[in-house]
């Protein structure tokens, strides 16, 4: 009787293990699209030399523009419309740069939430929406000099140290990728949302997927890509199966665990 019980529990366990592994069947390692151009931004797409389908496929697998809505809906004190502020012109948005409000992303671990002063800075001059209900609520906070108690949506565990600065510095300032695309890698297509909702898994595996990408060290014509500043903090290049020198991102535990 007990033997049967144990065996059955063991088999159930084994099946679930196999099942979960089947779901995450290993796929071929994603390759880096390279420094030049990329992506969602149409202009950049035109600039690059046409071999986009592989990259598009990769991009859509990992950074799909359709919301995954992995996280729960988080009710914020004011239902702030990102689509109005950051959205495209042709959809009625103002295309405000993410970092206009989330200012600290380029120089701090956190991107930061704008102080009420930032909102008021524009809104005190926008008469046309002054009496909308949410704007009125905004001004209530301002007049009472009370900070808006925004809830944290992308709240990583306390033992993780994620540096926005490093990622912004690399992707936006070093690799010249467009801001919305870079923020979108992890935060999804925020310009289609009102308040933020977690779109990506943000698990260690999610981060490590990018850090495992094999970057070619030299271009097709043999010239080295990037200088010492570009490569430092990447792992030492290794020769991969295709006999090319490739390097991967940091995998030092203490880069991200504190």
């Amino acid at each position: 009787m007990h033997r049967f019980l144990r065996l059955s529990v063991l088999f159930i366990g084994l099946f679930s293990v196999l099942g979960s592994y089947a779901a995450d069947a290993p796929q071929s390692e994603p390759t880096d699209p390279g420094i030049e151009g990329s992506a969602i931004d149409k202009a950049a797409k035109e600039k690059s030399d046409g071999g986009d389908s592989a990259f598009d496929a990769w991009l859509s697998k990992y950074f799909d523009s359709d919301p995954d809505n992995i996280g729960p809906v988080v009710k914020q004190p004011i239902e702030f419309p990102h689509f109005r502020h950051a959205g495209d012109h042709d959809k009625g948005g103002m295309e405000i740069n993410c970092m206009y409000c989330h200012t600290y992303a380029r120089r701090s671990l956190v991107a930061g939430i704008p102080p009420v002063q930032k909102c008021i800075g524009c809104h005190e001059n926008i008469e046309s929406v002054r009496n909308k209900p949410r704007i009125k609520k905004l001004f209530e906070y301002w007049d009472a000099k009370k900070a808006i108690p925004w809830k944290k949506v992308h709240d990583l565990p306390d033992f993780v140290r994620f540096s926005h600065e490093r990622h912004i510095q690399r992707f936006i300032f070093q690799l010249n990728r467009p801001v919305q695309e870079v923020c979108g890698y992890c935060h999804g297509n925020v310009k289609e949302m009102t308040v933020a909702r977690r779109q990506k898994l943000l698990s260690m595996g999610f981060c490590v997927t990018c850090h495992e990408i094999q970057h070619p060290v030299t271009a097709k014509d043999g010239t080295p890509i990037g200088d010492q500043k570009y490569w430092y903090s990447m792992r030492k290049p290794i020769i991969d199966v295709s006999s090319d020198l490739k390097a991967q991102g940091p995998n030092d535990c203490w880069e991200c665990h504190k």
């Binding site: 144990r6 366990g13 679930s16 293990v17 996280g71 729960p72 600290y104 102080p115 944290k152």
Partner: protein, 733 residues
């Protein structure tokens, strides 16, 4: 079904099942959404970047050395204190006590509201009511009937205090410090013309210290420690030599090249013996040391004749040297004579003007530190006993804890009409008060401070808040004084809303003398001053030392005979973390092992192995230490670094109040001290208490950091040591 499915089987099934579930994984439950709030502001200034620290400078208030600190502030909270590199006193370094300053600030046992005593309870009242009560109690009271008891004070707070007392015509400002180099100050005044000269340890080739624990708790340990490091690196490539003479090993003694266990009280005799052995004394000095030949000195002190010769030879060969006096002065009824003899050694060796120099003078005498002594406490005690005082104010001192029990200070204090304590915590003295007014912590308050020991140049330390007030009910001492002064005369200080305004105005008023003559804009100068955290006074004059030998009139008593009934001499020793017990409620300090014994969280009595064997005492025995004025029960620790005729109990523990981290830990040796005073200054002679020890039959395990082998390397090369003849220091950077 056979129901022998027992607990073991159940656990086995759970185990298999658990493993299976674990292997299958279950998504990312670690990222929370919507549970916590984000750091959110209404308005920000441009240096406030979340996750980036901002540093503000202030002054450490954990002891009176006046080191400057830099507080690391993030999101409006001070997290850690570092040293301020701008200060000539500590130059960017801190001691463990200074690090614990954040625990003084965040301590859960801080008083948060004014408390009024009703019977045995304290009732929280409003500040208005408290001020009104004080005004009422002061009505019709003359200046002679008011007493103001404080610890050491300096800077603008001292000025305000003086003004408040003047408003009554009250001259009764008693400054009391439980452990202070009071006898040394008086002796220095006699020998050098100044109370606290500047000691250049880093210029000396030999430092001979008679109980001056300059690496531990004496005067300005962080400054002296830095000088010590330079001293060891050497003057002209020759490493400095440290000789420590004392009856109980301090941390300075533990770092000495030679530690001499001298018979308690005979340090002065040794000093004269060394002068005699130098053979260079003439005239008055020669007359004073006649008869102090090395055989006699060796008999009296316990230091061998050979050792005396070696010391004399070393002092002659390596100049300049520096002779310091510490517990040799503070410990004995003839302490002043000891100090005079020891200071004489500096004169004879020609150190005055080289390693003993005049310090820079801060040209604002009203701000200079008011230093404390027991004479003041005695005077206050006498007045209290006579029922002289209708109102007693108490600030920054805890005599109910630190005054010897025989003084009966607690009983006498009860005779005062109305007792007000300005306090951070309900310490023993605050517990006896009728009204307790809660203070802003040192990290929340404004002020200026002039340190007693001035390192290079003259400086005034600035104290500024490192964050917003933690508890809305506390007030800064300066603000309280201003409010009290305005009670007396509304016209006074009417231009100043608060202490900050007063301070700012006072500093700007003296801009020129404070180095701001080149800065036209007042705001810029003030902001720069706050930013630096100190004001350096350019071109400050230095005190000049007068070389008075004081050899005439030098008369040292013979070594004390051993009292048959109380055969041991009790040395209550000061350790760097706890000092006089004002910081005992900071848990980092309670858990910081004593450098000599590694004991934590408790008191102990150090007994030399020879004496312990004689008395049959082993480590952990609870012994009763009994003197004429009481007894304490404490665990024994067999310790080789003490003279066999002495025992030592640390001061600072044995609190009966002051919060959860202080109360109930250890014993307070202050309570059982004999009232013996230095003949010349009237200061309490700390080492003159005679005691006996008896076993109680109880034994405990001593809680300490060292393991059972206690300081033994067990033959391993863990901390080897090289001698100067074998080591080559020339290639070091």
């Amino acid at each position: 079904m056979n129901n022998d499915f027992n607990r073991r089987d159940f656990l086995k099934v759970l185990g298999w099942g658990g493993t299976a579930v674990a292997l299958s994984g279950c998504g990312n439950g670690m990222v929370e959404s919507g549970k916590e709030t984000v750091v959110s502001y209404v308005e920000t200034n441009d240096y406030m970047i979340p996750s980036v620290s901002v540093y503000f400078n202030s002054t450490c208030a954990q002891c009176d050395a006046g080191c400057s600190i830099m507080g690391r502030v993030r999101e409006g909270r001070v997290l850690k204190l570092e040293g301020n590199p701008n200060s000539a006193i500590n130059r960017g370094k801190t001691c463990g006590l200074g690090q614990a300053g954040v625990q003084h600030h965040y301590n859960p046992d801080r008083v948060r509201e004014p408390l009024l005593r009703t019977g045995d309870q304290g009732e929280a009242i409003s500040w208005d009511k408290a001020y009104a009560l004080i005004a009422e109690k002061l009505k019709g009271v003359s200046g002679e009937e008011i007493a103001f008891l404080t610890g050491g004070v300096s800077g603008h707070l001292k000025v305000l205090m003086g003004n408040y007392l003047d408003s009554f015509g009250c001259k009764n400002h008693f400054v009391y410090e439980a452990i202070a180099p009071a006898v040394v100050r008086a002796a220095n005044k006699k020998s050098y013309g100044v109370e606290m000269p500047r000691f250049n340890i880093n210029k000396a080739k030999v430092v001979l210290s008679f109980g001056a624990d300059f690496l531990g708790a004496w005067v300005s340990p962080v400054n002296f420690s830095q000088q010590y490091a330079q001293f060891r690196k050497g003057v002209n490539g020759q490493r400095g030599v440290l000789i420590q003479v004392e009856s109980k090993m301090t941390i300075t003694g533990a770092n000495a090249d030679r530690w001499l266990a001298v018979r308690p009280g005979t340090e002065g005799i040794l000093a004269l013996g060394i002068i005699h052995a130098l053979g260079t004394a003439t005239g008055e000095v020669a007359a004073a040391v006649k008869g102090y030949d090395k055989e006699r000195v060796s008999r009296d002190t316990g230091v061998s004749a050979e050792q005396i010769d070696k010391i004399a030879a070393l002092l002659k060969a390596r100049t300049p040297s520096l002779v310091l006096v510490g517990s040799a002065a503070e410990g004995y009824a003839h302490g002043s004579q000891n100090a005079a003899a020891i200071n004489l050694l500096n004169q004879v060796l020609g150190n005055v003007g080289k390693t003993v120099e005049g310090a820079a003078i801060v040209p604002f005498p009203q701000m200079m530190p008011a230093t404390g002594n027991t004479v003041a406490l005695n005077k206050l005690n006498k007045g209290l006993n006579e029922g002289k005082y209708k109102v007693l104010f108490s600030y920054a001192t805890n005599p109910v804890f630190t005054a010897p029990g025989a003084m009966k200070f607690k009983d006498n204090m009860a005779k005062a009409g109305f007792k007000v304590a300005f306090a951070h915590y309900l310490d023993e003295t605050a517990m006896q008060a009728d009204l307790v007014l809660p203070l802003d912590s040192a990290l929340e308050d404004w002020g200026t401070q002039v340190p007693e020991y001035m390192a290079e140049g003259a400086q005034i330390n600035i104290q500024q808040p490192l964050m917003e007030k933690l508890h809305p009910g506390t007030r800064g001492m300066g603000d309280i004084l201003l409010a009290l002064i305005k009670q007396r005369g509304a016209a006074d200080y009417k231009n100043f809303d608060d202490f900050y305004a007063y301070l700012r105005s006072a500093v700007l008023h003296n801009k020129g003398a404070l180095g701001g003559s080149g800065v036209a804009d007042d705001d810029i100068f003030w902001n720069e001053t706050l930013s630096k955290g100190i004001v350096k006074l350019p071109g400050a004059a230095h005190a000049s030392l007068s070389a008075r030998s004081g050899a005439s009139g030098l008369s040292l008593p013979a070594p004390a005979a051993i009292d048959a009934q109380y055969p041991l001499q009790l040395i209550p020793h000061v350790n760097a973390s706890l000092r006089d017990g004002r910081n005992t409620n900071q848990p980092w300090l309670q858990e910081s092992p004593d450098p000599l014994t590694t004991i934590v969280w408790d008191s102990w009595v150090e007994i030399h192995p020879k004496k312990a064997a004689e008395l049959g005492i082993v480590e952990g025995d609870i012994v009763e230490v009994t003197g004429k004025n009481g007894s304490v029960k404490v665990q024994a620790y067999v310790f080789p670094g003490i003279h066999p005729d002495a025992i030592s109990i640390p001061i600072g523990r044995g609190h009966e109040a002051m919060g959860r981290y202080a109360k109930g830990y250890g014993v307070n040796p202050f309570q059982i001290l004999d009232l013996v005073y230095d003949k010349e200054t009237g200061e309490l002679a700390l080492h003159e208490t005679r005691v006996k020890i008896s076993k109680t039959g109880q034994r405990v395990i001593v809680v300490k950091d060292e393991g059972p082998v206690g300081g033994n390397q067990e033959g391993q090369k863990i901390v080897p040591r090289m001698t100067t003849d074998k080591v080559n220091l020339s290639k070091e950077i």
